[in-house]
Structure formats: structure tokens, C-alpha cells
């Protein structure tokens, strides 16, 4: 087993790192909105920064910046 677990969701990706989306789980309007904003399986996403006090994440994907809350980022699974 590796000493540091690889991130499994976008919430765990380090600031500055890039990850590839594997899946977006859930079937509510939030999941659909995440997909509609371009967070679809296969897309590459960079975590640009985070807001203070455990606030939202700033992401870069498809050539633009998107902000999503941490608990919503948890439903975006990352490819190994």
C-alpha cells in the first residue's frame, strides 16, 4: 500500500494539481449542473485555489474558471 493515498475525488486534489474526471455521482440537479458546466468524464481539471475557511474550490477546465463547493466536489470521482 502506498504511504500517501491517491486522491479519489476532486475535493482531495491538491491546489495547483491537475486531475482527470472519471465520473460524477448522484442524480439530482447539482450533478446535472456539474455535467452541464463541462465536468464530464474524461475532462482534465486543474484546482486553481480555495476560498478561506474551507470555502469553495476554484477550478480551471475547458478554458474557463469554475467555482464549486467542497461537498459538491466530493461527488466528482478522479481517474487513477
Amino acid at each position: 500500500m502506498p504511504a500517501v493515498l491517491a486522491p479519489v475525488s476532486l475535493e482531495e486534489v491538491a491546489v495547483g494539481a491537475t486531475a482527470r474526471v472519471a465520473d460524477v455521482t448522484g442524480d439530482d440537479p447539482t450533478t446535472l449542473r456539474l455535467l452541464e458546466m463541462g465536468l464530464t468524464p474524461g475532462v482534465s481539471v486543474r484546482v486553481v485555489g480555495t476560498a478561506p475557511l474551507g470555502g469553495p474550490l476554484e477550478l480551471e477546465l475547458r478554458g474557463y474558471r469554475l467555482s464549486i463547493r467542497r461537498h459538491d466536489a466530493a461527488r466528482v470521482a478522479i481517474a487513477k
Binding site: G55, S67, I68
Partner: protein, 712 residues
């Protein structure tokens, strides 16, 4: 149609329906809908095509803004409908529902568009194509306007518009709206597209077949659509490294930094708030002086009597009370439009989201709530920037709890007069200052609690998506910024202004009638007798002796008698009687019936409570904002006693209970009217008034009871 361009029609006043003419009839105005993602330069394109909107209102049955502009192109009249910005044609908010309904022609009285102009941001084409391909799938005549081409060029993005047009089977026109590049061609393409039925672009089905079938149908469509868009744009969009390292990237790194970003944000908000608070004040003073001058003129022109009183104290006071809000509204919306235009508004929401999330709100609630410290009216109007309807309503409901500038004079007078000026702990921190700060804290705490409770109960529901684009940095367009402020001021004056004037007139009438001269004289005589009796009982060296003798002596002067008559008239009016009626309700707060009266009479605006107290305590019209007026009022309040006793009305617990009550109550008719207008329902002002009054009463009750126990 002889309608002049640039005139704004009031809400609900729709133009008469055009006779049913065919599309080919050049006399019939073409209806063109502008659809696109938020932050794509859609407003700038609207202004470039149609100029100032000829009509702003609401769509029937919803509070979604309808903006229409009329212009002529090559002899055809075109009505351009600016639809709310949306990311998808699968609606998730009332705004998005309207877009879908208008495109399908499902809204009564809103014609099916003859052509759809799809706005696509060239700097962000991939995501913009999501909505664009959905709109093209409708199979209606359409033109794609590729906006922000100059910004795309700077970012090193070049787009083969002709090839994109071939692949989408739809004309694609690159535009730079502020420079009017491509605007003429866009107009030509719109007219050429009308009446055609273009084939919807094909390819989505092929990708949909490849998506994992465990996804919901809507999710599967989204995944397939992006896969298809990647294929559509392959070879159309070329990216080369930008000429210089993008400045926007570096600005963004600082402004959204956890530490620097937060500090810069705090400084920006402080600057904005101070500007609204301090810069608007001289403008508001000029407006008040102007209204006073007109009132003086009316007084000199009209004979004394009921008509003059109606014009001066009812109508003009009401109009003045409306116009006085204009500087704050204009200033706040100028700021908001600049912040929105350059892309900072979303960053602000990003930084503040966590803090407000904790009380059931979102990052976008921050600016409306902050500006409510200056005045709740522009604050509530600024809640328009919140897309999520639940967050927007919740923000509107708690915004009036923020201590606005109108509460400050009440706090200052009572703190100065009744809170002992002693240091607390630190030498420079004195009790009045601490009490003043606590009043602001009381409002914030109440707002946080109410919002938390409501979001967990009445407003409980599935979590709303908070997925927010952080748009690229760009210079705000002056035309768009000015238009935003103009629009806000207009809609306030037209929609809320008339109603606020009406409410002021009603309140004036209630505090003036019935005007029974005999009852007034009897009241004045009774007051004189009670003063004389109290004075006779007091030893000459008692602290109140001098104040009481001055008050008694003033009844023999012309001014003093007139003031006493005014006080008596107010006490005998319907409003005064209501004050006596509510006495059992205000007694537990430590108030006498005069205070109850003053509280009720201050319903139009809480700042009038001091003036009302002046009138009720027979001082006539004092200006509590001026040194002399304030000190006269303080002396009179200090000497005030319960009817028929020597027990003082104003003690420290009573002063605190009054302040707490005014910190939390909804004594501001204008705010309630604006809530009604902004929510499109009279339920919400009633809810706001009820919950705030109950809250204010409970808090004032607790303050008085605890204060009396602790302070004796």
C-alpha cells in the same frame, strides 16, 4: 408604430398587439430573442444593437425581468428581447424556465421569436456551445454571435467562424460589440435567417449511444453533448501560446488568494460601503433641502388649511421620502455593475461563500446584506444578482435586520442621553460606544439566526446547485454600468415610489384626523393642570423643578401653546388612539402610551420616531439632528414621567429596550413596499413585518426585564 425610442413603459403596460401580419410584411416588427450564457457580453451586444431598452418589465406571473429594445435595420423594425443568461435549456431556476418558455412561445402575450441570436463567448467556446447546440436543436431560424473576439485574440485563441458555421448549419458572426465590429453583418444575417427552417446540427445521437447507460437520461445527454462539441470544435479553435503571460492569470492569483484576496476584498467592501454611506449623504441632504424648499413654496402659495397640510405634510413629505433613496440606490448599483462587469462580483461571492453557507445563505448574499447597513432598500434590490430563488428570498427577508443608517440617530440620541458615559475595561472604550456596537451586533445575530432557522424549516429542501462561473477579468463597459444604475433607479421610482407616496399620505391622514378642536383644547388644559400639580408637589431644589417650570411657562408663549396643541392633536388622532390601544402591549417593554404612539407613528420610516417623540412631548417640530433640537428633546425625555406620577419613563433599561426594538422592528414602509415589488407577492412584506415585529417585541421585552432586574 410611432413609439419614441428610449421611452420606458411602466410595468405591465404592454404595447398593443400587432395585427396578425406575415413575416414578409415589412410593417411587422421582427421579434428577435437574445439567448446566451451569463457573462458573455450579452448586455453589451444588446446595447450595441438596440441602444437603451424601450421596455423593462416582468414576464407575466413571474419576477423575471423582461427587457425589450427596438431598432431598425435595413428598413425592418426589430424588437430585440434580452433573455436572462442561462447555461442550459434544461431549466433549474425561474429565469431559465422563462428562457425555455419564450423560445417555445409558451408564454401568453409573448410572441414566438422570428429569429434567435445565440450569444457565444469566443474565449470560452466549448462551454458556450453547450447552450448554443441546445438552442440550434429547436430548429428555429438562428444566428450565432461570437462575442469577445478581441479578448480571445489576446488569449491566443483563433476561431474559424466560417467552418464553425458550416458544421452548425447556422451563420456564425464574430463581433466586438463595444467597437460595433460585426454589428451590421449580424443585423443582415438576422433578417436573412427569418422565415428559414435550418436543419438542426446532427451528431449528438451518435455520441449518446456511446455513453454508459447507468446515467440518467439528462446526464447522458450532457456527457454526449460535450463529447460531440469536442468533435465539432476540433480544427475550428486554434490555441497558440498568448503573446505575453496573461495578466488576468496573475491578477486572479492575488485576488482569489486565501489571505491577500480576503484582505483586498475587505478593503473593497469597506470602500464601497463608505461611499454609499458617506458620499450619498450630501446628495440626500440636497434632495431634502430641495423638497423643503418646494414645501416652503407650497406653504406660501396655498392658504392654511387641510389642502395645504395634505400637500405639504402628506404628498411632498411622501415624495421627498421616495426621492431621498435615489442617491444610495444609484451609487450601490454603479458599484455592483462595475464589480460585475470586471468579474469581481463572482470572486467576492467565492470568498464569502463559506461564511454565509453556515447560516443557510450563499456567497452572493454578501453584497446585498452589506449594503443593507447603509439602507435596506438598495440592499434588497441588489439581491437581484442572486440567481438562486431560495437564497434570494431568504436574503431579502433578513436584509432589513441589518442596522441601517436610519437607526443611527435613534441609537446616538438614546446612548448619549441615557447610557452612563463610563469606561468599560479599557480606558478608551466607553459604555455608550459599546452599547452602540451591540445594537449592530444584535441585528447581525438576529439575521444569522432567522436565516439559519428558516433555511432548516420553511425553506428546507433539496440543496440548490451552487456551481458558479468565475468569468475572465475585463474592463467594465461604461454604457452597461450606467444603464444598470439607471434601470435600478427607474424601477424603484416607478414601481415602489408611487406606492410609498400613497402609504405616506395614509399615515399622514391617520396622524392628523379626526381634528377635534374641543378635545385638543381639553387635552392641553389637562396637561397644564397636571404640570402645575406636579410642580406644586416638588420642592424647589428637586432636579426636575426647573425643567417643569420651563415647560409650564412655555404654555403661555405662542410657540409653546402651538406645540402643545400639535401634541394634543396627534394624541387625539386615530394614530394616537391606536397608541393608547396598544399600551397593554408596550407596558411589558417599560414604555408608556406615548412611546407606543411614537413607535406606531414611525411606521413610514423609523428615523421619524425622534421627531414624533418631539411632537408627542409638546416640543413641536424639533430637529433631533441638530444640537439644539437634540438637547431640547433629551431634556424633555429625561423629565417625562408616567401619567399622574413622578416615576420617570426613560430609565436605562427603557432606553435599551427602545433601541433593541428599533434595531429589529420593521418600521419602514418603503422597505416593505420594495420587498413586495421585488418578490412579486404581498405575502412576503406581511411575513417580514410580522416576524420582525414579534422578534423586536420579544427582544425588547427580554432587554427591559433583564435590565430592570440587573440595574434595579
Amino acid at each position: 408604430m410611432g413609439e419614441p425610442e428610449g421611452s420606458v413603459r411602466p410595468d405591465g403596460d404592454r404595447p398593443p398587439r400587432e395585427p396578425d401580419r406575415g413575416v414578409d410584411d415589412p410593417r411587422r416588427p421582427l421579434v428577435v430573442a437574445l439567448v446566451g450564457n451569463p457573462n458573455t457580453g450579452k448586455s453589451t451586444l444588446f446595447t450595441a444593437l438596440a441602444g437603451i431598452p424601450t421596455r423593462i418589465g416582468n414576464y407575466p406571473g413571474v419576477t423575471v425581468e423582461e427587457k425589450v429594445g427596438r431598432f431598425a435595420h435595413r428598413g425592418r423594425t426589430i424588437d430585440l428581447v434580452d433573455l436572462p443568461g442561462t447555461y442550459s435549456l434544461v431549466p433549474k431556476s425561474p429565469d431559465e424556465q422563462v428562457v425555455v418558455d419564450v423560445l417555445h412561445g409558451r408564454l401568453p402575450g409573448v410572441p414566438v421569436p422570428d429569429c434567435i441570436v445565440i450569444v457565444a463567448d469566443a474565449t470560452n467556446l466549448e462551454r458556450n456551445c453547450y447552450l448554443a447546440t441546445q438552442a440550434l436543436a429547436l430548429g428555429r431560424p438562428a444566428v450565432v454571435a461570437l462575442t469577445l473576439c478581441d479578448a480571445a485574440e489576446e488569449k491566443g485563441i483563433s476561431i474559424d467562424a466560417a467552418e464553425l458555421g458550416r458544421r452548425l448549419s447556422c451563420p456564425v458572426v464574430p463581433v466586438v460589440a463595444p467597437a460595433r465590429q460585426g454589428i451590421e453583418e449580424l443585423g443582415d444575417r438576422i433578417i436573412a435567417a427569418v422565415g428559414t427552417s435550418p436543419p438542426p446540427p446532427r451528431g449528438l445521437e451518435r455520441h449518446a449511444a456511446l455513453v454508459d447507460s447507468r446515467h440518467e437520461p439528462a446526464a447522458r445527454e450532457a456527457i454526449a453533448r460535450y463529447a460531440w462539441i469536442e468533435e465539432l470544435l476540433d480544427g475550428v479553435v486554434q490555441r497558440r501560446p498568448p503573446l505575453r503571460p496573461p495578466l488576468a492569470e496573475r491578477i486572479d492569483a492575488v485576488l482569489t488568494h486565501r489571505v491577500w484576496g480576503t484582505l483586498i476584498f475587505a478593503a473593497t467592501m469597506l470602500a464601497m460601503f463608505s461611499a454609499i454611506f458617506w458620499l450619498a449623504t450630501p446628495l440626500m441632504d440636497w434632495i431634502s433641502a430641495g423638497v423643503d424648499a418646494v414645501a416652503g413654496l407650497a406653504e406660501s402659495l396655498l392658504p392654511p388649511g387641510a389642502i395645504r397640510a395634505l400637500v405639504v405634510d402628506g404628498v411632498l413629505a411622501g415624495v421627498g421620502g421616495v426621492v431621498v433613496f435615489v442617491p444610495q440606490i444609484a451609487m450601490l448599483f454603479l458599484f455592483v455593475a462595475v464589480l460585475e462587469g470586471c468579474g469581481y462580483l463572482s470572486r467576492a461571492a467565492f470568498l464569502m461563500d463559506r461564511l454565509l453557507c453556515g447560516v443557510g445563505l450563499g456567497g452572493k448574499s454578501f453584497i446585498p446584506l452589506l449594503s443593507s447597513f447603509a439602507c435596506a432598500i438598495p440592499g434588497i434590490m441588489a439581491a437581484r444578482t442572486i440567481e438562486n430563488p431560495r437564497d434570494r428570498l431568504l436574503t431579502i427577508l433578513v436584509a432589513p435586520l441589518m442596522s441601517c443608517s436610519a437607526r443611527l440617530p435613534v441609537y446616538l440620541l438614546l446612548c448619549g442621553a441615557f447610557v452612563p458615559n463610563v469606561p468599560v475595561g479599557l480606558p478608551w472604550l466607553r459604555l455608550p460606544a459599546l452599547v452602540l456596537a451591540s445594537m449592530y451586533a444584535v441585528g447581525v445575530l438576529a439575521a444569522a439566526t432567522v436565516s439559519l432557522v428558516l433555511s432548516r424549516t420553511v425553506f428546507f429542501g433539496p440543496p440548490q446547485p451552487f456551481v458558479m462561473e468565475l468569468p475572465g477579468w475585463r474592463w467594465p463597459r461604461p454604457a452597461v454600468v450606467l444603464e444598470r444604475a439607471r434601470e435600478a433607479v427607474w424601477s424603484f421610482l416607478q414601481n415602489a415610489g408611487t406606492l410609498i407616496v400613497a402609504v405616506s399620505i395614509v399615515i399622514w391622514a391617520l396622524s392628523t384626523y379626526p381634528h377635534d378642536t374641543d378635545a385638543i383644547e381639553a387635552d392641553v388644559a389637562a396637561g397644564r393642570a397636571s404640570l402645575a400639580a406636579r410642580l406644586a408637589e416638588l420642592p424647589a431644589d428637586a432636579p426636575d423643578h426647573e425643567a417643569l417650570s420651563v415647560e409650564l411657562a412655555s404654555l403661555d408663549t405662542e410657540d409653546g401653546l402651538a406645540a402643545a396643541r400639535r401634541g394634543a392633536a396627534q394624541r387625539q388622532s386615530l394614530l394616537g388612539r391606536m397608541g393608547r390601544l396598544v399600551e397593554p402591549l408596550v407596558r411589558p417593554l417599560g414604555w408608556d402610551w406615548r412611546l407606543g404612539c411614537a413607535a406606531i407613528a414611525s411606521f413610514p420610516a423609523r428615523e421619524v420616531v425622534l421627531g414624533t417623540l418631539g411632537v408627542i412631548y409638546n416640543l413641536g417640530d424639533v430637529d433631533p439632528g441638530e444640537e439644539a433640537g437634540a438637547s431640547a428633546l433629551v431634556r424633555r425625555l429625561r423629565a417625562a414621567t408616567w401619567d399622574g406620577t413622578n416615576r420617570r419613563v426613560f430609565t436605562l433599561p427603557v432606553a435599551l429596550s427602545i433601541m433593541v426594538f428599533f434595531a429589529l422592528c420593521a418600521q419602514c414602509a418603503s422597505t416593505l413596499v420594495v420587498i413586495g415589488r421585488e418578490t412579486g407577492s404581498w405575502v412576503w412584506p406581511v411575513v417580514t413585518f410580522t416576524y420582525m415585529t414579534v422578534l423586536a417585541w420579544l427582544a425588547a421585552f427580554a432587554t427591559y426585564q433583564i435590565g430592570t432586574r440587573l440595574l434595579g
